[in-house]
Amino acid sequence: MTTTMQGQVALVTGASRGIGRAIAEQLVAQGVKVVGTATSDNGAQAISDYLGDNGQGLRLDVTDADSVAAVLKTIDDNYGQLDILVNNAGITKDNLLMRLKDDDWDAVIDTNLKSVYRLSKAVLRGMMKRRFGRIINISSVVGTTGNPGQTNYCAAKAGVEGFSKSLAQEVAGRGITVNCVAPGFIDTDMTKALTEEQKQAIFANIPAARLGQPEEVAAATVFLASPGAAYITGETIHVNGGLAMV
């Protein structure tokens, strides 16, 4: 068993800021070459800037199969075979179900759930052949607990966890693990978009009595990618300060 991640190659979606950026930076600290993606050229450039010689940023639309194929080809050409996939890219389009638009439902399911199917399927062939791979999907505590105003987001995140358990069983015999990290209330742009009412309700229930930091989610993610986590699969690690204990 290898005991180091030195020289491995990782793809982290949604890496321009927040949790994705923290994951990319901590993988780099382990000697991993990282390709981070963003939806815009500016975002991709920002990723290239912070990664420096340790990888690069690329533009990726996770809802577009051609865009996924292009990014994977670039990774193969520039870095070789992919060892680690971190499906982190996600969006919210919150509203009470009574007011939720079809477009907002579809966009969240496509970006947060179908993207995981799309990317995992695309990288699996190479991982199967090599008998090694790590797929880590960033879920959310609300996939377990639910959250009013987020029927679409919670459905997608719960879906990601079910997907991960099923795929984990399919490919465990091939040295590939599939796990989730479920952040709670983390200090990112996404949670800044919550209303004051939502924040107060959540804070009242966090035993740690503070926001989590992106680095604390990244640490769990890097652990699941590391050689020490080889026997953990189909699991969800909750990083939520005690907000939900499952």
Partner: protein, 79 residues
Amino acid sequence: MSTIEERVKKIIVEQLGVKEEEVKPEASFENDLGADSLDTVELVMALEEEFETEIPDEEAEKIKTVQAAIDYVTNHAND
């Protein structure tokens, strides 16, 4: 240059970890050679690469025996 039959059999031996003498034409991957469903998917992937062809899913599902694999490649391979 090996024949198609020899190349197909070699891939089956490698992918399924079976002995060459077990790879008889009528042998079923799942019933006789101990393959599970994922093994057969991988076998088809290996055939696609060896013979530089794309095997559609509906055709792949029919490749259940050694002979079926040889027949498919014989009829569809590019080389």
